[in-house]
C-alpha cells in the first residue's frame, strides 16, 4: 500500500535531552566475528559500552536555531551488526524471491546501491523470514557506536542571529570531506578498509540508511526539551562521511535534497540482528527442522 509521499507524523513522548557531557575518548569496543553461514551474513558482535554522540535531527534553543546537543549512547546489550554492507548478490536473492524491488546495482562483491529506506526495510523483513532471526536497520546511535572512530561529528558553530554562518561552515566541511576519487562507483567490499571494530567500508562512498526518523526538538535556555518533539518518519537519517536526512522512497540522492550542499554519492545499507526473543528462537527452530 502506497502511503502518502510527504509527511508521516508521529508524536513522541517528551524526552529530556541532557546538555553536552564531558566524556573521555571511548576506546574501541571489544568485538568478535560471527562468520557467514547459509543465509546469514557475516556479523560482528560488539560488546556493550557507551559513546559520546551528537544527536541527530533539528534543534532550536530558546526559539532560535541551535546546534544539536551531545548525548551519551548507552548500548546495554551486545550489538550484532553486519560486517559489511549488503551486496548486490545478497540483495538479488531477495529480488528472486519476489520480496524486493529489482535493481541492477552491486554484484557478488560490491554493495547494492540506489536502494531506498523502503527497499532496505523490505530486505530486512525478507532476511528475517529466511533465517528465522530478526534483522532490521540500525538506529543512528547503533550505527555511530559501530562506526566508532569513523563516525563524523556533524557539529558546527551556530549563530542564532546569522543563519548563513552555519550554511557556509557546513558547505565548507562537506566540500573538504568528499573523497578524492574521480568517480563514485561503489568499490569491492573491503576497499575502504576496516574500522577498529572490524566493520568494513564505514564512511566510504556508500551512505547507509538507519531507522532513525528526522526529529525536530525545541530546547529551552538550559538545554532541556520543551513541548513535544516532532518526528517525520517519511525522512530517515542516513550516515556516512557525513550525516544526511533523506526521504524514505529516494533511491538516488546524488542530485541532492536541497539547492546547495554535498549529497550522498550512493545509498546502501547494512543491518543489525536483534537478540533472539523466545518467539523468534522458536520460529528459527521450526524453520531449521523443516529445512
Amino acid at each position: 500500500m502506497l502511503l502518502a509521499s510527504n509527511l508521516k507524523m508521529i508524536l513522541l513522548a517528551a524526552v529530556g535531552f541532557a546538555g553536552p557531557i564531558a566524556m573521555m575518548a571511548t576506546p574501541p569496543q571489544a568485538h568478535r566475528d560471527i562468520a557467514a553461514h547459509d543465509d546469514r551474513p557475516a556479523l560482528i558482535e560488539l560488546a556493550p559500552g557507551t559513546m559520546r554522540y551528537r544527536l541527530a535531527g533539528d534543534f532550536t534553543r530558546n526559539g532560535k536555531p541551535a546546534e544539536a546537543p551531545f548525548a551519551e549512547i548507552k548500548i546495554k546489550q551486545p550489538l550484532v551488526i553486519m560486517k559489511h554492507q549488503v551486496t548486490g548478490a545478497d540483495y538479488r536473492r531477495c529480488v528472486d524471491d519476489g520480496a524486493c524491488r529489482a535493481t541492477s546495482t552491486g554484484s557478488a562483491d560490491r554493495p547494492v546501491v540506489q536502494v531506498s529506506w523502503r527497499d532496505a526495510d523490505a530486505y530486512a523483513a525478507w532476511l528475517s523470514r529466511k533465517t528465522g532471526e530478526t534483522y532490521r536497520l540500525p538506529t543512528d546511535e547503533e550505527w555511530a557506536y559501530a562506526a566508532g572512530s569513523r563516525w563524523q561529528d556533524d557539529g558546527l558553530p551556530v549563530d542564532g542571529d546569522d543563519p548563513a554562518q552555519r550554511w557556509l561552515a557546513r558547505y565548507e566541511r562537506e566540500s573538504n570531506q568528499k573523497s578524492a576519487e574521480a568517480d563514485s562507483e561503489p568499490r569491492p567490499v573491503g576497499a575502504f578498509g576496516a574500522n577498529e571494530n572490524g566493520l568494513l567500508d564505514v564512511a566510504g562512498n556508500v551512505w547507509e540508511w538507519t531507522n532513525t526518523c528526522f526529529v525536530r526538538t525545541a530546547l529551552d535556555e538550559s538545554g532541556a526539551a520543551v513541548g513535544t518533539p516532532i518526528a517525520n518518519c517519511g525522512v530517515r537519517v542516513v550516515e556516512g562521511q557525513h550525516r544526511a536526512y533523506v526521504t524514505d522512497f529516494i533511491r538516488d540522492a546524488r542530485a541532492g535534497g536541497c539547492a546547495a550542499g554535498v549529497p550522498p554519492a550512493n545509498l546502501g545499507f547494512r543491518l543489525v540482528r536483534q537478540p533472539a526473543t523466545f518467539m523468534s528462537a522458536l520460529t528459527g527452530f521450526v524453520l531449521a527442522i523443516r529445512n
Binding site: 536555531p65 542571529d161 548563513a164 554562518q165 566540500s175 525536530r216 541532492g256 546547495a260
Partner: protein, 375 residues
C-alpha cells in the same frame, strides 16, 4: 567510420576553394600590440573595465586539444574537443576598437581539422572560412572588435561537423567592453569587483542497450552514435564548465557581501535561463550587447542558444547561493547548477525567521493529534 585521412582530404578541398582571400594584403595598422595570457574558466584574464588607452592589437594564442574527460560523478567518460583544454574555451576581453589577433594551433596529436567562428567578428563566416587548420597546422586571424558585448566563439568546420564539434565542447566567449566601461540605463558608470564566466554545454552521450553510457577509444569512433543521439534533441547532460558539479564544493565561486559580480553566461547551441537562487540580476544585458540599456532587477534571464549574456549583481546576504539553468530538471538531474559561497554579515532587515519551525498550536486545523494510549 570517420578517420583522419577522410577528414584531411575534406579539409584540403576546402582549403583550395578558400585560397584566394589570403592573397589580399592587410593594411598596416600602426597600432601598439599587447599579448594576453588566457586563463581557464570560470576565471577571466586581468583587464581594465573603463580604459584611457587607445586601440591596440591584442594577441591571443589558443591550442585545440582533443581529449577524453570525465563529465560526472559516476565517472562517465566523454571524448571532448576543446579550445585550450577547457570546456568552455577561455574568455577573451578586449575594448571596442581593439583588434583581436588570434594564433590558432591544431597540434599534430589531434585527429581532426578545426577552425573558429567569432560571433563578434564580421565576414568569412565569423572567421571560420579563413581558419580551417589540419592537425600540425596553425593560422593567424585578425578581426576588428567594432561592437560591444559578450559574444560566443565556436568551432564550425563544415556540415555535420559543426553541431558535433560544438556539443563536444568547442565553444567560448569574447567580451568587447565599451572604452568608458559598463553603464546603467541612465548612463551612470557600473563597475564589477569580480567576474565569472560560465559556459554551458548540452551533451549527448550515447547509451548501450542496457542504458549504460558508452565509451569510445577516439573521438572519431564516437561520431556515428553521437549523431544519432543528438538528433533526438534531448541532452543526457547539461553542464557548467565541462562537468556536473564543476563549480560546486571546493570549486564553488566566491564573493563577499557588498561586492559586485559580473556573471557572463554563454550557450553556443541551446537556450538556457539562468537564475541566482537567493539573489537577482541587478543589471542584465540578457542579449549580451552593451549598447543596449540593461534590464534591471531580474529574477531569471534568457540566454538564447548561440549567444552569451551578462548579469551584474551586488551581493547583499552571506551564505550559499545556487546559480542554475532554471529548467530545474536540467539543473538538478542533468547538471546545470553552480554554487556561490558568500561571506559577510547577515541582514535581518532583508529576511528573518520570525519564528522557528514548531508544532501547529493544538486545536488548530492540521495540528498533531495526541497518541491514544494503548491499554
Amino acid at each position: 567510420m570517420l578517420n583522419r585521412r577522410h577528414a584531411m582530404m575534406g579539409a584540403a578541398v576546402a582549403a583550395l576553394v578558400l585560397a584566394t582571400p589570403a592573397l589580399a594584403q592587410s593594411p598596416d595598422l600602426k597600432l601598439p600590440r599587447q599579448k594576453i595570457e588566457l586563463v581557464a574558466p570560470p576565471f577571466v584574464h586581468p583587464h581594465e573595465q573603463a580604459t584611457k588607452q587607445t586601440p591596440k592589437i591584442i594577441e591571443f594564442r589558443m591550442e585545440i586539444v582533443e581529449k577524453e574527460i570525465v563529465i560526472d560523478e559516476q565517472g562517465t567518460k566523454f571524448q571532448a574537443m576543446t579550445f585550450n583544454g577547457s570546456m568552455p574555451g577561455p574568455m577573451m576581453v578586449v575594448h571596442q576598437g581593439d583588434y583581436v589577433e588570434l594564433t590558432l594551433v591544431n597540434p599534430e596529436t589531434n585527429t581532426m581539422p578545426h577552425n573558429i567562428d567569432f560571433h563578434a567578428a564580421t565576414g568569412a563566416l565569423g572567421g571560420g572560412a579563413l581558419t580551417l587548420i589540419n592537425p600540425g597546422e596553425q593560422v593567424v586571424l585578425r578581426w576588428k572588435a567594432d561592437r560591444t558585448g559578450t559574444f560566443v566563439y565556436h568551432c564550425a568546420p563544415e556540415g555535420s561537423m559543426i553541431p558535433w564539434h560544438v556539443v563536444s565542447g568547442m565553444h567560448g566567449t569574447v567580451m568587447v567592453l565599451p572604452r568608458e566601461g559598463l553603464k546603467d540605463g541612465a548612463g551612470k558608470a557600473l563597475r564589477y569587483d569580480r567576474i565569472y564566466y560560465i559556459g554551458e554545454h548540452d551533451l549527448y552521450v550515447p547509451r548501450d542497450e542496457k542504458g549504460k553510457y558508452k565509451t569510445y577509444e577516439t573521438v572519431g569512433e564516437s561520431y556515428a552514435d553521437t549523431m544519432e543521439t543528438m538528433r533526438k534533441l534531448i541532452p543526457t547532460h547539461v553542464v557548467f564548465n565541462g562537468k556536473v558539479g564543476a563549480l560546486t564544493g571546493k570549486n564553488a565561486m566566491t564573493a563577499n557581501v557588498g561586492e559586485t559580480v559580473l556573471i557572463v553566461h554563454s550557450q553556443a547551441n541551446r537556450d538556457s535561463r539562468p537564475h541566482l537562487i537567493g539573489g537577482h540580476g541587478d543589471h542584465v544585458w540578457e542579449t549580451g550587447k552593451f549598447a543596449n540599456k540593461p534590464e534591471t532587477d531580474l529574477e531569471t534571464w534568457f540566454i538564447r542558444g548561440g549567444s552569451a549574456g551578462a548579469a551584474l549583481y551586488t551581493f547583499k546576504q552571506p551564505g550559499i547561493y545556487a546559480y542554475v539553468n532554471h529548467n530545474l530538471i536540467e539543473a538538478v538531474e542533468l547538471g546545470a547548477a553552480a554554487h556561490f559561497k558568500v561571506d559577510g554579515k547577515w541582514n535581518d532587515d532583508l529576511m528573518t525567521q520570525v519564528k522557528a519551525p514548531g508544532p501547529i498550536p493544538p486545536k488548530v486545523q492540521g495540528a498533531l493529534q495526541p497518541l491514544v494510549k494503548a491499554n
